[in-house]
């Protein structure tokens, strides 16, 4: 089995400092956050430029070139609702360290992002929802099937669709957590890859609690067969948990210094 893929989530316009740096094309804060995430062990970096309706294409190109030239063609997830911006980003993207990830498609309004990924030989994150959170796993798996078929019809490898069950917040949807875990198991049994914004589970919880909840959940998810997650790689407890689970799953070979690499 391949090592668990972490996608670092800290380059996002939801962070005011990042938003400002993107707007002003200021490399320094972007590179600093990118380095922190890579040093902590992130495989991919998510580049969330927000809706970027005006200058999305220019901005995504700038960000892709900036990050890949500084960090040896680091693989990236291109994250925006602006499809033209994603295509522009892919046009300057170097695949030496991995295909670009289109973040993201769903089974509703954003299904065309699967077409975009297929046309550009990219990976796509496929949210198993259509506008609203799926009511149950029957609905989740129906969305999964529909998106899988669409991708395959367009010539994609099934493993290039990374299915996102949609992680749900514990405070409010505690009774749905096991369903999400069961969906991951179903993806895994179909031989599919999966990912998602795992830390959503601990939204609204005190800061010192969140790493504990996130770590517990990632361990349970990896047991179910989750192959990737969009996370904060600078959460040490979480990364230690992922590295340890990779050992138990025989995804990486144990050495006493395994947490340091």
């Amino acid at each position: 089995m391949a090592k668990f893929v972490t996608i670092g989530e800290r380059l996002s316009t939801t962070a005011p400092a990042v938003n400002k740096a993107f707007t002003e094309r200021d490399p320094e804060p972007i590179l600093k956050r990118a380095k922190q995430q890579l040093d902590a062990g992130a495989t991919y970096l998510d580049v969330n430029i927000g809706p970027a309706e005006n200058d999305g294409e220019d901005l995504m190109k700038w960000a892709v070139k900036l990050l890949q030239s500084e960090f040896d063609n680091v693989p990236l997830a291109l994250d925006t609702t602006n499809m033209k911006a994603i295509e522009a980003g892919i046009s300057v993207y170097n695949r030496a360290k991995g295909k670009p990830i289109v973040n993201s498609a769903d089974a509703g309004d954003r299904i065309a992002n699967i077409d975009l990924a297929a046309a550009n030989d990219a990976i796509v994150i496929a949210l198993c929802s259509s506008g609203m959170v799926a009511a149950d796993n029957d609905e989740r798996m129906m969305h999964c099937q529909n998106m899988l078929e669409r991708g395959m019809m367009l010539g994609m490898e099934p493993t290039d669709l990374w299915f996102d069950p949609l992680f749900l917040v514990v405070k409010g949807m505690q009774d749905k957590q096991m369903e999400v875990l069961e969906a991951i198991k179903m993806f895994s049994e179909m031989g599919l890859n999966s990912t998602g914004g795992l830390s959503n589970n601990s939204n609204g919880m005190p800061k010192h609690i969140r790493p504990i909840m996130d770590s517990a959940l990632v361990a349970m998810c990896m047991m179910q067969g989750l192959t990737s997650a969009i996370v904060n790689p600078n959460d040490l407890r979480l990364m230690e948990t992922i590295k340890s689970c990779d050992i138990f799953k025989n995804n990486t070979l144990y050495a006493d210094s395994y947490l340091e690499i």
Binding site: A255, D256, S257
Partner: protein, 313 residues
């Protein structure tokens, strides 16, 4: 239905490590397939064969080996003949006389031999210590120092002395660091991790993951090598992508099947033949399991294994 070949492709490869300087260099590793799987992808570098000589000269070697070196009276003579052996890619000098439980030669005495050998041949060199961790920690940094510029492989640092040997060979004197573990896959990886943490370039490390003579717990060697290549290629584990070198001769010539004289064991036949058989069997198995280089002693073994490598390339 026509046969449809599906090559096993890896997005990873074993590091290429070059030993030697000037025109005379050999490259170890560099491949992205399991050993001899040239049908999956072209072979970047074939496996290499080294000839073992020791500071003890021809003391204790078999008659056939003695015959090959006939007329060689100094270490320089022996080194030249070793380098000229058919199929030889490099010479490996073992400083076994340094062992405090054996001859206990002084570091100065051994360094003089190292210099004599290095001056006599311009082929790539591997220098092995005496296996005593304290003595090697003193001896091998000196070897690395006096051979500056020759880009030699220093065998080997171990868990107990990696700081002294790794830092001297890999940092101070810019040689290739050999990292030795004893058929322990987790330790093999750990040693690479801590060596790179010292600051040694991962591209300048070669592993000796340990060996055994065929028939002497050899299955563990195979599974360890196989697992290392699997993790290096299949999991793209860059802490296991160092090429593997295996000193075969020192294992095989020590077992009773190879060392018992014909006078003691007439029913076993000539000693030389038995020794060659053990050396060839073990080396062939090591290469098939994942060694990128083997170190042998008998000229017939060197020629045979070298021929096998070429035939399977």
């Amino acid at each position: 239905m026509p046969f449809n070949q599906k090559p096993q492709k890896f997005n990873a490869k074993i590091n290429t490590v070059t030993i030697g300087s000037g025109d005379k260099t050999v490259a170890l590793g560099g491949n992205s397939t399991f050993p001899f799987y040239s049908f999956d992808a072209p072979t970047e570098n074939t496996a290499k064969v080294g000839v073992e000589i020791t500071d003890m000269g021809l003391e204790g070697v078999s008659e056939g080996i003695k015959a090959y070196y006939e007329g060689a009276t100094t270490m320089a003579d022996i080194a030249k003949k070793a380098a000229a052996m058919e199929g030889a890619d490099f010479v490996a000098l073992v400083l076994e006389g340094g062992d405090p439980n054996g001859e206990n030669k002084s570091v100065d005495e051994l360094i003089a031999i190292v210099k004599e050998v290095a001056d006599a041949v311009d082929c790539p060199l591997v220098v092995e210590g005496c296996k005593n961790v304290e003595k090697d920690a003193e001896l091998l940094p000196k070897v690395a120092e006096v051979l500056q510029g020759r880009n030699v492989l220093i065998l080997a640092e171990k868990e107990e002395n990696y700081k002294a040997i790794g830092a001297a060979a890999g940092l101070a004197y810019n040689q290739i660091v050999g990292a030795e573990s004893a058929v322990d896959i987790n330790l093999a990886k750990q040693l690479n991790v801590v060596t790179t943490q010292l600051g040694v370039n991962a591209q300048k490390i070669v592993m000796n993951i340990g060996s055994a003579c065929a028939g002497y717990g050899y299955e563990y060697v195979v599974s360890t090598m196989d697992r290392i290549k699997g993790a290096a290629l299949g999991q793209n584990d860059n802490m296991l992508q160092m090429p593997i070198i295996t000193p075969v001769a020192s294992e095989t010539w020590g077992v009773k099947e190879a060392s018992a004289s014909e006078a003691d064991m007439p029913e076993w036949g000539p000693q030389d033949e038995r020794g060659i058989d053990m050396e060839i069997m073990t080396a062939a198995a090591d290469l098939a399991a994942g060694s990128d280089a083997v170190i042998l002693r008998h000229p017939q073994s060197v020629a045979t294994i070298s021929k096998m490598i070429k035939a399977l390339a």
